[in-house]
């Protein structure tokens, strides 16, 4: 019994790591490739989760849908919806330095949170959307978890291969050129705003997909399912610790940070009740401190961005204005 419980827990962790790795990959496209600061990851995540939920649940009273379509359509819809939300924001903000994008993405995440809370027609309000079909969900408990892990892992591998190919392709080199020296890239005839918009939308689409996979795994999505600030921040620390600009780093970071985060949750849950609440916030403090330490002592992360030869020496001097 103990052993079965452990296996189930490991499966549960592995699925979450895959979902977070996908989110970190999305952020890597935005930050690692293009240097775009997205502080509203949770917003795109939520858009994806709700879109897929609406598309794939059975018809219900009092809200739009569900349309009872196949989950694959739901996931594609989630990617499209998240990309569609990202488009106007990127269109307006990417002409400026990334600081403006940071503020605007905080804003869009806030607006999405408001919409989810106050539009029951769309999201069923505080009760959220439940009975979201989980692919292979009618198997036994453990079999179903294994099956879902395989699906999530397959999606992650496909996403990784695609993103990694792009990293080495001309597109990836161009994105890094724009990131490191915008003026030089512009002088070479690159359409900086448009390319940044591409990266922003692709990244957002992956985040939407991550949200959809989360919703289907939990079989439900509610406004309280994730804490927007904590989720956004966790994904940031995953990417920075793992190594921004390195896709394997993003995945490694997701695994390391998620394991630390979950294990520390188990530890704080064992505390007596009067300390449990404080311990929860202490964890948040420590994860914030962890970012500061990584930024200070190992800014390149565990797996640094792969650069060729003499490029490495010039990187530290590259200051984007």
């Amino acid at each position: 019994m103990e052993f079965v419980g452990l296996v189930n827990y490991a499966l549960f962790m592995a699925i979450f790591i895959c979902i977070y790795a996908l989110l970190a990959l999305g952020l890597n496209i935005q930050w690692g490739f293009a240097g775009l600061f997205n502080a509203g990851i949770a917003g795109f995540f939520a858009v994806g989760a709700y879109t897929s939920a609406i598309i794939s649940t059975a018809p219900a009273d009092g809200r739009i849908g569900g349309f009872d379509l196949h989950f694959v359509i739901g996931w594609i819809g989630a990617m499209l919806a998240a990309g569609l939300v990202a488009w106007p924001i990127g269109k307006i903000c990417l002409r400026f330095r990334s600081d403006y994008l940071a503020i605007a993405t905080i804003g869009i995440a806030e607006i999405i949170r408001l919409v989810i809370k106050s539009e029951p027609v769309l999201t069923n309000g505080a009760r959220g959307i439940s009975n979201i079909p989980r692919p292979a969900g009618d198997l036994g408990y453990m079999e179903s978890q294994i099956a879902y892990l395989i699906i999530v892992l397959a999606v992650l591998i496909v996403a990784y291969v695609v993103v990694e190919r792009q990293f080495n392709a001309p597109w990836g080199r161009m994105m890094r050129a724009i990131r490191d020296d915008e003026d030089a890239a512009r002088a070479m005839g690159k359409n900086v705003e448009f390319r940044r918009l591409e990266a922003f939308i692709f990244g957002a689409a992956l985040m939407g997909l991550g949200g959809a996979m989360f919703a289907h795994f939990n079989r439900s999505i509610t406004p309280e399912a994730i804490d927007p600030m904590v989720a956004t921040f966790l994904i940031w620390i995953m990417l920075i610790l793992g190594g921004s600009g390195n896709n394997r780093g993003a995945i490694l970071g997701a695994a390391v940070v998620w394991i630390i985060w979950s294990v520390s949750e188990i530890a704080t849950d064992r505390l007596p009740h009067e300390y449990a609440v404080q311990a929860k916030y202490l964890r948040l403090f420590l994860i914030g401190l962890m970012l500061q330490l990584v930024l200070r002592f190992r800014p390149e992360g565990l797996l640094p961005e792969p650069l060729r030869g003499d490029q490495r020496s010039t990187k530290s001097g590259a200051d984007r204005h």
């Binding site: 600061f37 600081d99 940071a102 806030e110 940031w236 403090f285 914030g288 500061q292 930024l295």
Partner: protein
């Protein structure tokens, strides 16, 4: 609805809220212009200021207005400390790295507030204050104090920036950092002064939000977007612009209830922000665009 009702229920609260935003936006605009990054922990620094004042009120039993200077000084010290410990060594790196660090700082400050003061909403003083009637316009004392404090603090700051040596140094750093450094301005002192001013104003902003509504751990974070909208609306680097922007955002938020559902009040600041970035990114008073 008659004019008095409009003024009493929408314009007066709007001006009060706007004054609170203005206090924070001035700090944001100074940091944006002088240090050249968006400081995302500004809202949570305001929360900390509000709670330091609460600690003074409950710990020493003084009136909230006596606690205000304590909060201002305490928060200014914290702001300088945060800069020294966490931001200073990032100065040579791309500025966006400091923006990221400040997001982490926001989380850390909030966590400290939640650990020390808990997550329940609190107030400085109990009981309901009835507004006084001034020729049909009903205003509470604390609302007058909020507006007055904002005007006095920003006025003193403006005097300092235009008349004193260090104020001029700050403006020089904002206009042209290379030239300012060449002419012998001590960058470290300017940075420290900026944090003292921004931190102090931040605490005042949090304090007045707390005294006009209530204190909770998320109060500052929710102010972040309006404060940035105000700074950009007024023009980055323009103190008087930040005040103007703050008042416009505050009044617009209160008036927005008349046309859109009240749940979306907070969206008003975001709409203003995007609109300004779209049509006039330099802001009303022609500030910087980074």
């Amino acid at each position: 609805m008659d004019l008095f009702e409009l003024v009493n229920f929408y314009v007066v609260p709007g001006i009060v809220l706007g004054s609170i935003y203005a206090l924070g936006a001035v700090g944001i605009t100074l940091i944006f212009a002088i240090l050249r990054y968006a400081h995302l922990a500004h809202g949570d620094l305001a929360t900390l200021g509000a709670f330091i004042a609460l600690a003074a009120v409950t710990g020493m039993g003084v009136s909230p207005y006596v606690a205000l200077p304590i909060a201002v000084l305490g928060t200014a010290a914290v702001a300088v400390g945060i800069d020294k410990v966490f931001y200073e060594h990032l100065r040579e790196r791309p500025k966006i790295v400091t923006v990221m660090a400040s997001l982490g700082i926001a989380l850390m400050i909030r966590a400290v507030v939640q650990v020390v003061w808990g997550v329940d909403t609190q107030t400085y003083s109990r009981g309901i204050v009835r507004p006084e009637d001034y020729f049909g316009i009903r205003i509470r004392d604390r609302e007058i104090y909020t507006l007055l404090a904002m005007v006095v603090l920003v006025g003193v700051l403006q005097l300092f920036l235009t008349r004193s040596k260090w104020g001029k140094a700050m403006r020089a750093m904002s206009d042209n950092p290379n030239l300012a450094l060449l002419s012998g301005i001590d960058n470290k002192k300017v940075v420290m002064l900026t944090w003292v001013i921004a931190g102090g104003l931040c605490a005042a902003s949090g304090f007045f939000l707390g005294i006009n509504t209530e204190l909770k751990a998320m109060m500052g974070w929710h102010m972040l977007l309006p404060m940035f909208a105000a700074a950009i609306l007024g023009g980055v680097g323009r103190v008087e612009g930040a005040v103007l922007g703050g008042l416009i955002v505050g009044i617009a938020e209160e008036l927005s209830v008349l046309v859109i559902p009240s749940e979306y009040k907070a969206a008003m600041a975001f709409a203003i922000l995007l609109f300004m970035l779209l049509v006039r990114p330099t802001g009303l008073l022609k500030g910087k665009v980074l």
